[in-house]
């Protein structure tokens, strides 16, 4: 499989707002190190899961790749072409090929724009389709594909007239109308009800096959990744701790954090649940302004090695075929 996206040492540090006194006394602003040096690739046609708790930097990573926010450091390549420093027109043109599905579909739609217009807008922006009629046909077609049928009925409605699941279908339609190669799904199912969630997961799978898409599937919910993800990246406090195939991560997780994350997923099967060994670390994710030294997970890690984990930052190592982990236990 060819590689579609390559990310090298990507960093994003958000400066905190300073108080007046701090600004006057020229104390440098404190930084939230949301993403702190991540590198990975996404192959053409695969679905890569990006998993982590809140504050892990997964959402920021997604936005960085799409150049919706400016990286502090690092490189992003799309089809071997560097897009890190694309500006204005070139950047706009690129957006045709890279799209995003947001978590909150209500907030992602302009309340004053009819949903048909919202879906058609990308066509207008990129000058796709020779006539209005052609564009409308494309839009109707797309609305049908996301099961908003009959499409003509939906075209003139406003977002507030739709249910949560339907709105998310609109957002998906808008993202896919320009026939993109790569789509970031940022917690796209998190705000939906259980039964609607599975419906939309199925829709995402169907569309992926139909349009030959590559997904970056960002989620806090490890359990949903198994239906859709080929490979999984686990992030903790702005760093990648483990990368591997779905089976690697699920059947033989290496990093203590990944293990904790998996064992923390509530298990509906009473038998499995009773036999399952829980490995729940103490405490919560620390503040990304002052992340722990060395391995960022060491204060909560049950296997933490004295004088090593707290001092030295672990590097990524390949422990089996394409299964990488950043942990001193595997030195």
């Amino acid at each position: 499989m060819k590689e579609l996206i390559r990310v090298e040492n990507l960093k994003k540090h958000f400066p905190l707002k300073r108080s007046l006194i701090e600004a006057i006394t020229r104390i440098p602003p404190r930084l939230v190190k949301a993403v702190d040096g991540v590198s990975f690739t996404i192959k053409n046609g695969e679905t890569l899961g990006l998993v982590g708790e809140s504050g892990s930097g997964k959402t920021t990573t997604g936005r960085l790749i799409l150049r919706l926010i400016e990286p502090t450091n690092g490189r992003i390549l799309f089809e071997d072409k560097e897009i890190t420093s694309l500006k204005n027109e070139a950047l706009r043109k690129m957006r045709k090929d890279m799209q995003i599905i947001f978590q909150d579909p209500m907030a992602a739609l302009n309340p004053y724009m009819k949903i048909g217009e919202a879906v058609r807008h990308p066509l207008k922006i990129h000058g796709i389709g020779s006539s209005k009629k052609e564009q409308l046909d494309t839009v109707y077609n797309m609305l049908e594909k996301v099961n908003l049928t009959p499409p003509r009925n939906f075209y003139n409605r406003y977002p507030k007239e739709l249910s949560g699941g339907q709105r998310q279908r609109v957002v998906i339609a808008r993202a896919l109308i320009t026939n993109p190669r790569f789509v970031v799904a940022d917690e796209a199912l998190a705000m939906l009800d259980v039964s609607v969630r599975s419906q939309l997961l199925q829709l995402l799978l169907d569309l992926k096959n139909e349009f030959n898409l590559t997904y970056l599937f960002i989620t806090h919910d490890l359990a949903t990744t198994k239906y859709i993800c080929d490979r999984i990246i686990v992030m903790y406090l702005g760093k990648i701790v483990e990368i591997g195939s779905f089976d690697d991560i699920y059947r033989s997780p290496a990093h203590p954090y990944t293990k904790a994350l998996i064992s923390a997923v509530p298990e509906p099967d009473p038998k499995i649940q009773k036999s399952k060994k829980k490995l729940i670390p103490q405490g919560e994710v620390p503040n990304p302004i002052n992340p722990p030294s060395g391995c960022r997970f060491h204060p909560r890690c049950p296997y933490s090695i004295k004088n090593l984990c707290s001092v030295e930052e672990p590097v990524m190592k390949e422990i089996s075929d394409n299964h990488f982990v950043a942990c001193h236990l595997f030195d």
Binding site: E53, S195, A223, F246, P266, D269, Q273
Partner: protein, 332 residues
């Protein structure tokens, strides 16, 4: 076997008056919770599970009306006056809310939350003693007692939920309603809180009603499970029964549509259609429009509750089984 009922709910109906008309949020629901038992109430948003929790403490919004019986300590809470309810809330029945950020008074120190609650119910306790009790409660949930002098916003999300739990348990109530207690938390913190709740339940010997949309959370905690759909309690039974032998087609579909942690089980099954509009609920069984096994009678007549193999099921598939409850009989 624990057989003493802590609370018994009989033919509970809750409706809200909205501009579009009355919404029947809970329709003829009956169940009980035994001593030292955890009952999980599961369902999707709008199924009425939170309304049931709030109706027990009578903290429903003003546009609501309750019918039926909620029996607690030989009293029908539905008929109880506000003054008497105040004596029960927080002392005998406590509640843990979903979002600990918004459920604590933002401009009140944590310590004052405790002192106020204790002094309200037990005015004879001195302020110092109340503070001591608060410290004990904090220790029990694993927070440093010195943090009592903090304001809620100074705590992390998981700590706040611990504080909320400590506050709910400080007077040692015999029944606790936990309404989506872990929904706003991250997975690992969720696991910590569930573990904590389990331990505290053993320690304080209380009964819990756990309200959640997450079947996994219920399975971790509950002895028995009640499944709700569109205001109806469609199935109720022991946790293992519900999981291994679901009787109601909705329970079955719900179980299949939620992801489990078994890596090999990758088949995605979902329930087609949408949740019904409760202003005009479907006639007959409320699940009938989405039910793969629906028969003619399902669209016409509301099913009674049948007792099948130890579980209670509200479904016509079990016609012929013993009827536990026929609502037309009980309606009067």
């Amino acid at each position: 076997m624990r057989s003493e009922k802590v609370i018994e709910i009989k033919n509970l109906r809750i409706s809200y008056l909205t501009r579009r008309g009355p919404v029947s949020a809970v329709d003829n629901v009956s169940f009980s919770i035994m001593k030292e038992e955890t009952l999980g109430l599961v369902g999707e948003s709008g199924c009425g599970k939170t309304s049931i929790g709030n109706s027990i403490l009578k903290i429903l919004p003003k546009n609501s009306s309750i019918e039926g019986k909620i029996l607690f300590e030989e009293k029908n809470l539905v008929e109880l006056g506000e003054k008497e309810m105040q004596k029960i809330r927080g002392l005998k029945i406590s509640m843990i809310f979903q979002d600990p950020m918004t459920s604590l008074n933002p401009i009140m120190k944590l310590r004052d939350h405790f002192v106020e609650t204790i002094k309200t119910h037990k005015p004879e306790i001195s302020e110092d003693k109340a503070e001591e009790m608060a410290e004990e409660a904090f220790k029990a949930v694993g927070i440093e007692p010195s943090r009592l002098k903090d304001y809620p916003f100074q705590l992390s999300g998981g700590m706040r939920q611990r504080a909320m739990i400590a506050l709910a348990l400080v007077l040692n109530p015999k029944f606790v309603i936990a309404d989506e207690p872990t929904t706003s938390l991250d997975v690992i913190v969720q696991a910590q809180i569930l573990e904590l709740l389990k331990n505290l339940k053993e320690k304080y010997k209380m009964s819990i009603m756990l309200i959640t949309h997450d079947l996994g959370v219920v399975a971790e905690m509950a002895d028995r499970i009640g499944v709700m759909y569109a205001g109806n309690l469609v199935e109720e039974g022991l946790s293992e029964k519900i999981y291994y032998e679901p009787k109601h087609p909705y329970t079955e579909a719900l179980l299949k549509s939620i992801p489990n942690t078994k890596p090999e089980d990758k088949k995605l099954i979902y329930i087609p259609g949408n949740l019904p509009d409760l202003i005009n609920p479907p006639t007959g069984c409320r699940f009938s429009p989405r039910c793969p096994k629906a028969m003619k009678i399902c669209f016409e007549e509301e099913p009674p509750i049948f007792e099948v193999d130890g579980s209670k099921v509200k479904c016509w598939l079990y016609k012929g089984a013993e009827i536990v409850e026929n609502e037309r009989v009980n309606q009067s």
